[in-house]
Assembly symmetry: C2
Homo-oligomer: 418 residues x 2
């Protein structure tokens, strides 16, 4: 069978299985996820053995140590996959919720019922835990899922997929609801991306190259985020202690993630006092600061920021700092260089807090809180399938609800249109 | 300037203007729409004169009379555009609504605020009234809009656009928030569809050819529906009077629209009595019936349905009729041949009504009501920008809310992540 036929068949089976998944009660779906968790635990040795094949190949191909580390499955990481599945099992089920039921003048009742999307395709790299995490979220929300991991993790992903499928089969549910693409041929992705009548949504997870490849080649809607260039604006009225604590947390706690701070904007009225203070604090925390001309007036020993530093996603202990005239200039800078991920204002001014909340249209906008809270778990979604910095369907961290849609339901007693 | 540069400049201006539109109060937006309505009324003669250019060209090109009719602007149609704008002005403004505000364990408050999408592109054919209707909905929801009508209506669309822009300018608002693409070159559409960093959503309105062209060539998310193949299932327990009344309304009231009935499914237990009755009623209303083998046993003088008749969008007084064993077979048939638009069950059985509502995942699912209610106005949205039969972002008739998205807002008092 050609790869094209193979992908089509796999997606057709997923679609059929998706109809069954869509009709399951929450109880059954929760049992399924809990059984998957137990199966991963009880077969951890098989997983570790399969993973060893990937690790051997990775070392032969001389992958970077950080890449190899991401590939590793050990008892602790398997436990964490199992725990993740149990956490998702414990979350409320969005499917079936009916909202806005109201009566029209002619007596028909109209509302909306939340339903699964159908078939979700996940295209990802490296970390084999995504296989279990994504499967849990997609199945809990009543969808079928097609998982296409990287070739470097193929043995691990295959083994995780086989164990999870056993749990489906053991419960009399269709194993086809969970498909692990069993080829490392890159054309398989291209074939999947053409199947717009079978797959409802594609979520790419990985580096910018992967995400661009998927979104440029897909006929299916893609939810994506390329990068997180987060800004914090320290307003003239900010509490300096709070501002310092927040900025340090945002930049230092975990610099390699997308909700870390990349550019700090400081109101000109406080530049003389706040710039030296924050630069010193950042330096104490090992951060390299790159400043605009005004910033460097008050902290002469830092490097000058280049045009490339604005809008850069450093993902390491480097921070660009700019002094701005006011909230308007801060907003203009964010509009020009931001990535619609997360922006924060530190202020004591009521009007400015409200303006920032209204006028900054990034996916997460914060007042007096660390950008590090910008993830699904911290924002209360429970677990996260990804994050969207495009506005269609979902904007920001995505949880179970984002894997569903709403249909209209109409209850009549014989009404016809006049 | 090349068409590519021209489209980019127009979209950049729209994006900039969109930021201003996003921050307007509902009152100002309502005033704007009301002023647009008055301007259309007071300049109706200019519109009729401009329209005459399109009509002359259409007759020279020997367009079909139905096409020419759709092009016509007269006092009545201009009044109807103005009324439409005033109705949209009177609808509630979705922008700024905050929902789900709740406190996390660490004290941050997290909720979602509804915001405009940014820039909406509408690609449409023939009817010049779309220019005013779409502009009203996009501007009321705080977006900028780029309108690309068909070449056959270019003079009319240009004139409507100029009048609506005057209203923006008169209120001190950016005229660039409303862009009418002023070239009939088809490559302009292709160029617009590439501008994914400037345009947030494309809505094609027109024939299936246009919609396929747009969705196959767009890097921007597209919301679309190709066709409406609506099914009604008359269950064994149905009230025959009600079933007949509903079916006739669905098929006959306006056969040329997407929410008209195209296939009628009848439970086998009532075929002997209901088939002759409904076939006679349909015939009395001028409908040609094409039946399956079983249907023709009870109505021998009707034509046999061919495989092509299942799934056909007749858009005229033709109806395919099939006798099915039960709700399962009805659901299978709908899954196979349906278009995810609107499906109806006529039943007195509680369990079957609930199963149909849950298991049929079309964008509108009805019990004991006519499919003709499947439009935005009838379902309570007030006005409709289009209908989506794909599940991402919106599913079903789309109103003002569907031209918005939600961002997360976080209110803290200095919280950082531990």
């Amino acid at each position: 069978m050609s790869i094209s036929d193979e992908m089509r068949q796999l997606a057709e089976e997923a679609k059929k299985a998706g109809r069954i998944m869509a009709s399951l009660s929450s109880g059954i779906k929760n049992d399924l996820l809990n059984q998957m968790a137990s199966a991963l635990e009880s077969q951890s040795q098989e997983l570790i053995d399969a993973n060893e094949n990937d690790l051997v190949a990775a070392r032969q191909r001389e992958l970077a140590p950080a890449m190899v580390d991401r590939l590793v499955l050990n008892e602790e990481r398997i436990q964490s996959m199992a725990d993740g599945l149990r956490e998702v099992a414990a979350l409320p089920d969005p499917v079936g919720e009916i909202t806005g039921m109201s009566k029209r003048p002619n007596g028909i009742q109209v509302g909306r019922m939340r339903i699964p999307l159908g078939v979700i395709g996940i295209v990802y790299e490296s970390r084999p835990n995504v296989t279990a995490d994504a499967a849990g979220l997609c199945l809990k929300s009543g969808n079928a899922v097609i998982l296409r991991g990287g070739s470097e993790a193929i043995h691990s992903n295959r083994a995780i997929g086989a164990i999870l499928k056993q749990a489906l089969t053991a419960m009399g549910l269709p194993a086809a609801a969970l498909q692990v693409v069993d080829t490392t041929d890159r054309s398989a992705v291209l074939e999947l991306l053409k199947l717009e009548e079978l797959i409802d949504l594609i979520i790419p997870r990985g580096g910018e190259g992967l995400i661009r490849f998927v979104s440029e080649n897909s006929r299916i809607p893609v939810i994506k985020h390329y990068k997180g260039v987060c800004h914090t604006f320290v307003d003239a009225s900010a509490d300096f202690d709070m501002a310092e604590k927040i900025c340090i947390n945002e930049k230092v706690q975990r610099p390699g993630v997308c909700n870390a701070l990349e550019t700090l904007l400081i109101h000109k009225d406080i530049a003389e006092t706040f710039v030296p203070r924050i630069v010193a604090a950042l330096r104490d925390n090992g951060v390299e600061v790159r400043g605009c001309t005004v910033t460097r007036e008050f902290a002469p020993d830092i490097k000058a920021a280049t045009e490339e530093d604005w809008g850069a996603e450093f993902l390491e202990l480097i921070l660009a700092v700019k002094v701005v005239d006011d909230l308007d200039e801060a907003a203009d800078h964010i509009n020009r260089y931001g990535s619609l991920h997360t922006e924060t204002i530190v202020t004591r001014d009521y009007a400015n807090s409200q303006r920032f909340l209204r006028e900054i249209n990034s996916s997460v906008v914060m007042v007096n809180a660390s950008s590090r809270f910008s993830d699904g778990n911290q924002l209360g979604l429970g677990a996260e399938i990804g994050i969207s910095t495009t506005k269609l369907h979902s904007f920001g961290p995505m949880g179970l609800e984002d894997l569903t849609t709403r249909k209209f339901i109409v209850l009549g007693d014989g009404q016809i249109r006049q």
